[in-house]
């Protein structure tokens, strides 16, 4: 039996707050402040340049990558950490297109992050080889896959609705047609079991500031299937992806395997915070997290149903990530009202309230408190209060 009280205690959660926005930014691990302070004071401050070797900074991206690999069903030495998700996606898509040189269609769905589409558009424009980015509704992806598809690029969990793609089935279908897959795990990693090895996915990317709780602006990760890694000619050949970074050779030679996808100097301070966040996963199986996520979200949905609210997430928990979305014309004001009562979810235009469930720290009591406030908001039409309905800058 997993001790979720222990994992909850590992976070420094503010008094009186029910935090249901870990799908946007996870909370502060209690150990992070001391660890980062020690890194600054003892490693950077005292060791200075020697920290790169003596304090293991240079090895951080691979070391952290191996820990994330455990959470997404990947083998050691297949994941590297650093840069942002946009950069990682650019690298992955560029590499995937190399593996399908005779095809010109990148297939994705409208449930993908718009930012993933921007990066794909940008890369295809830079390549200028006649590639097209084909965007279809999520439910049409399988039927649209064809022997024209170069790359199937999908985000497993829809950030709006929590709808979950069937990674195993779609990866198999893509491979059967000769296409290469790129999976964005931004809303998957740390939220539900992912089986990169089992599904035989080619490339995957994700961020670490959502369910992995790495902190604001925490670095992203990139997975490359080992056989693919040896074939990649990196789009962004950085010095730390060189076979011998400190030889300062005039031309790039790729490092072996995943290491070639390293780019510049690793974000040492951010990685130290992330490592404390990953520590919290050490005693928990992703299957336990998933089971509890379903318990929490089903409890929430039952309450929302009782209030007559419109569920925008799949009702079948097997088809849903670890979030529940509710549509309401007054969703913006409703969320402001909830936040003013200490229940933090978020809002996505035009009308979506999002509630993320992170079993490492969310409890049944959190759900019940959230539902009590949601009931108050609905039954008393609190959205009519101008204090809530006037739009502010949103994140």
């Amino acid at each position: 039996m997993v001790d979720f009280q222990k994992t909850r205690d590992a976070f420094d959660l503010p008094e009186g707050i029910v935090y249901l926005d870990g799908n946007s930014l996870g909370p502060l691990p209690r150990a992070a402040t001391a660890r980062v302070s020690a890194l600054l004071r003892d490693e950077w401050g005292q060791r200075l340049i020697r920290g790169w070797n003596e304090a293991g900074w240079m090895a951080q991206p691979g070391r952290t990558g191996d820990r994330i690999a455990c959470l997404i069903g990947a083998a050691p030495d297949t994941v590297t950490v650093g840069d942002t998700l946009s950069i990682r996606l650019h690298q992955a898509l560029h590499a995937a297109l190399q593996a399908a040189p005779d095809r010109r269609e990148v297939l994705t769905c409208s449930g993908n992050f718009p930012s993933d589409l921007y990066i794909a558009e940008g890369l295809l424009r830079t390549l200028d080889k006649g590639h097209t980015l084909r965007v279809v509704p999520p439910q049409e992806v399988a039927a649209t896959l064809s022997d024209q598809t170069a790359v199937l690029m999908l985000t497993e969990v829809d950030y709006r609705t929590g709808r979950l793609h069937d990674m195993a089935r779609l990866t198999r279908a893509a491979h059967n047609l000769g296409a290469v897959t790129v999976w964005d795990l931004a809303h998957s990693a740390g939220a539900l079991p992912v089986d990169l090895r089992g599904t035989n996915a080619d490339f995957a990317v994700g961020c670490t500031y959502k369910y992995l709780n790495g902190g604001p602006g925490a670095p992203a990760f990139l997975y490359v299937r080992p056989d693919r890694a040896e074939q990649v000619s990196p789009a962004l050949p950085g010095w730390l992806g060189h076979a011998a970074p400190f030889e300062f050779e005039p031309s790039y030679r790729p490092a072996p395997g995943i290491s070639r996808m390293r780019i510049g100097t690793p974000p040492v301070i951010a990685l130290a915070a992330l490592e404390t966040a990953l520590d919290i996963f050490d005693d928990v199986a992703m299957s336990d997290i998933r089971a509890r996520s379903i318990t929490l979200s089903e409890r929430f949905i039952a309450g929302a149903d009782a209030l007559g609210l419109q569920l925008m997430s799949p009702r079948d928990p097997a088809r849903r990530g670890s979030q529940v979305s509710i549509a309401h014309p007054e969703g913006y004001a409703m969320m402001q009202a909830l936040i003013s009562r200490g229940v933090i979810g978020d809002f996505r235009a035009p009308d979506l309230m999002r509630f993320g469930f992170a079993p490492l720290y969310n409890t049944e009591a959190d759900i019940d408190t959230a539902l009590a406030h949601l009931s108050d908001v609905v039954l008393n039409r609190l959205w009519d209060n101008p204090a809530y309905s006037v739009r502010q800058a949103v994140t």
Copy 2:
């Protein structure tokens, strides 16, 4: 009169160390630990997702950029901060090539960072439009510029020797021939006055972990001349470079000006550390830093000359950045011997010892101590000691 004792006191320097490697990694600002701890505990911990607006995280890249702009002769709203130098160079070179669409030669010199050459090679290969990367010796750059040159891409200060390019003259020469300029200021920013406005340079990039003291893996910066910024179609169109990031539009629309060069989520923790480092520059003019840098490096050169050592840096201080390099066949072991005595410089193959001078914290006493130990190493041939000559992994 600038109070360099005050700036030195702003750093947490280890006892008994003479640190002459700020050209590789600057030391810890005394205020960094408290600031980063406060960010973790009070902003991330307590405000959680609300930190993006309430704690100003979203505005960090521009706010920090404006402070760096002051140090490199750039106007407000022309510099953004985030990502690594490799990514920033990729963006800048891609944008520069857009501004010279009918030419195919990127001119650079062998004194550039190899990593800059890797990124350029990678981009030109991705573009696959027949561009060539032409690498000439530093002293031949001016004569090689021609009406075939699309982009002149140079690092102002050679990381090996400290040789300083004449940015004003080369930029003018490039512009006279219709070429666009990309300057890497990695060893310039914070070390010597840079006048981006006065030289009319088109693009510039740099890192913040050297003379700007932002910490290990601190983010990079990118300058784009305002008229150029409005014309750039970004290579890496990230969501935070979108005109309306929170509208989640399906297609990218560039934000105005430099903001379009933002990519993903900003590295909030690293930027907080960097801000404390930039505070230290507040009461100092770059001209004062430069004057003191020359005093320190001339003092060091005089001592090295007296020991009969071979100076690899330009003897004329006007042609030199803020570092002095000495060649010696036993340079590796000599540097190890110096480090074991608490004098930290670094070594670059095959035979270069590098000593960086950072007036914010280095003193005449530092130079004298370093020279005393260097004298001991030379006069007693300490390189013969196997403890120093056996190669370790180097950074």
